[in-house]
């Protein structure tokens, strides 16, 4: 296994030129994630238009895997419905789960099951200690969605 299988071109590109960097004023959802062991940090802001993600902004620091994963995620979820985003999270987690075949969750007919650039992170599976780096953005996203959901729920009361 060569190291280039881990550090694919697209990963280095997103690391050096991260997309959707910054913060949102009064975001609809916000979450912070970190890997205490390695110090990777991520701040995620989301704005919704109805049940669609209308804006994503990311701040943070960390290794090429954690930061490129966040950058690619920000592109992948932008414009998607909440259901599609949840589907995408599940697809990504399946890809990162070393117990299942890498392609298991992919389905070209479901918008939430098309990973696109994110498929470049498949190589991380062969470096188990780095999987948590790739997953950081996604667990942070789950947290943001959860906090959003509970605030929507509260507003409906």
């Amino acid at each position: 296994m060569s190291i280039e299988e881990l550090y694919r071109e697209v990963i280095l590109d997103h690391y050096r030129n991260p997309r959707n960097r910054g913060a949102l004023d009064h975001p609809d959802a916000h979450a912070e994630g970190n890997n205490p062991l390695c110090g990777d940090e991520l701040l995620l802001d989301l704005r919704f238009d109805g049940d669609r993600v209308a804006e994503v902004a990311i701040q943070g620091q960390g290794c090429s895997i954690s930061q490129s994963s966040a950058s690619m995620m920000s592109q992948a979820i932008n414009g998607k419905t909440l259901d599609e985003v949840r589907d995408l999270i599940a697809t990504f987690k399946t890809m990162m789960d070393i117990e299942t075949p890498a392609q298991a969750g992919l389905d070209p007919d479901r918008p939430g099951a098309v990973l696109g650039d994110l498929e470049a992170l498949q190589g991380v599976r062969k470096f188990p200690v780095r999987i948590k780096c790739a997953n950081l953005a996604w667990t942070t996203l789950e947290e943001a969605l959860q906090s959003h959901q509970s605030s929507v729920f509260r507003n409906q009361l």
Partner: protein, 409 residues
């Protein structure tokens, strides 16, 4: 240059290959590898002498007790303590520092008092004091660093006022390798009557230690960084302080008498060793001390200094590498933290690992220090007696590979 390469054969793990490459182990500051001489002694204890210590009136228990107490004597002699009773066996540096912070701090610190730490402390010498400060109302202050990551001793006099009751600092930074002038700091601290505690986790295995010269009141270190096993370490303390300090943990072994309405403590050092101690680990630490004594700590220090000098020199061949810590080899030991261009340390470590080179990446349990360096993390190469110039060459070759993968020019 002093040649200790013959020692490599004593360390079975160094024969290993990782990812198809010969192992180049450069993470001894996290934990060192163990020589056959330590492994064999521990194995022999378990196979032929093992029983609990200080208890049974039978031969095996006597043998275990003798070996355990002999190990204490070896550690005492290694640091030039006056008596073996000045050495308390602990689980490691962390427990040793907690023993002082809680044992001494809870009874002697109160609101208005200060504990002086430094910006280059390991979390083990920060967090216990924070916990004790929170309970006692004492305040923590931190001695800053200079631009080249030495302690800023010019700031020391103004910080050392009558409120400072404890000065606790590292004898050698686990991030930058910095060797502060321990004795000078101890003298200044003693002038205002403060207690002096030295975290010697790195110092003990890189530099000869003589507690008579250091002039500290307590020093703490671990076995596993000095070629011994995990789960064992030591706290050396001045006899009078050990006498008056309350134990941090209660239980079996540490008592003189237990009644329903109270207990009295066993004599020093046993009053600090509650419960069944790590018996075989202590004996293994004694064997590690024997091993280091046989090499001679002066030779260990010379080897470490020469290898560090060689490494610092070779790293200058890579213009994108930025090394943290002092340049003067008298003021630093064999721990080298560095950054490589804009490549994150974890990525550096992953690429190096594929080349067989094991380095640490992260904040090295010293977040205030890494923050002060202005980086979220560093990559760190650290040396032990078994490292060679060839290991440094492999590191440099590996770093060129990192540059290639990440297209750093």
């Amino acid at each position: 240059m002093i040649d200790l390469s013959h020692l490599r054969l004593d360390f079975p793990v160094l024969q290993r290959r990782v990812h198809g490459q010969p192992l180049v182990f450069l993470d001894s500051a996290a934990s060192s590898q163990k020589p056959t001489q330590v492994l064999d002694v521990m194995d022999a204890v378990y196979r032929t002498h093992y029983a609990n210590v200080h208890r049974g009136a039978y031969l095996l228990s006597e043998e275990s007790t003798t070996a355990y107490e002999e190990a204490r004597g070896k550690v005492a002699k290694f640091i030039n303590a006056t008596s073996r009773t000045e050495v308390v066996f602990t689980r490691g540096t962390t427990t040793a520092l907690n023993t002082v912070a809680f044992g001494w701090g809870m009874d002697n610190l109160s609101a208005g008092d200060r504990v002086l730490l430094t910006m280059m402390e390991h979390h083990a010498n920060v967090v216990p004091w924070q916990m004790v400060a929170r309970r006692t109302g004492a305040e923590l202050v931190y001695l800053p660093m200079t631009g080249d990551h030495r302690l800023d001793l010019d700031r020391l006099p103004e910080l050392l006022d009558e409120r400072v009751r404890v000065v606790s600092f590292t004898g050698m930074s686990n991030v930058t390798g910095t060797l502060p002038p321990v004795t000078d700091i101890a003298r200044m601290a003693h002038e205002i009557g403060a207690l002096v505690v030295v975290d010697a986790a790195q110092l003990v295995t890189h530099v000869p230690i003589d507690v008579q010269q250091l002039e500290a009141d307590f020093i703490a270190f671990s076995g596993h960084k000095m070629l011994g096993p995990t789960g064992i370490g030591a706290l050396w303390g001045r006899p009078s302080l050990l006498e008056e300090m309350e134990p941090f943990e209660g239980g079996g072994e540490m008592i003189s008498d237990v009644r329903l309405d109270g207990s009295t403590w066993a004599p020093v050092p046993h009053k600090f060793e509650a419960g069944t101690p790590p018996i075989v680990e202590a004996i293994g630490l004694g064997a590690a001390v024997d091993y280091l004594e046989k090499i001679g700590m002066e030779s260990v220090r010379r080897h470490d200094r020469e290898l560090t000098g060689y490494a610092l020199n070779r790293l200058t061949e890579l213009p994108q590498v930025r090394v943290f810590g002092p340049e003067d080899l008298e003021q630093r030991g064999g721990v080298i933290s560095f950054a490589l261009g804009d490549v994150h340390p974890h990525d550096v470590a992953t690429v190096l690992d594929q080349e067989g080179v094991a380095v640490r990446a992260g904040h090295h349990c010293a977040k205030p220090l890494t923050r002060a360096l202005g980086v979220p993390a560093t990559a760190r190469a650290s040396f032990q007696v078994y490292n060679t110039r060839e290991d440094v060459d492999a590191l440099v070759t590996g770093l060129r590979r990192v540059e290639e993968v990440f297209r750093v020019d």
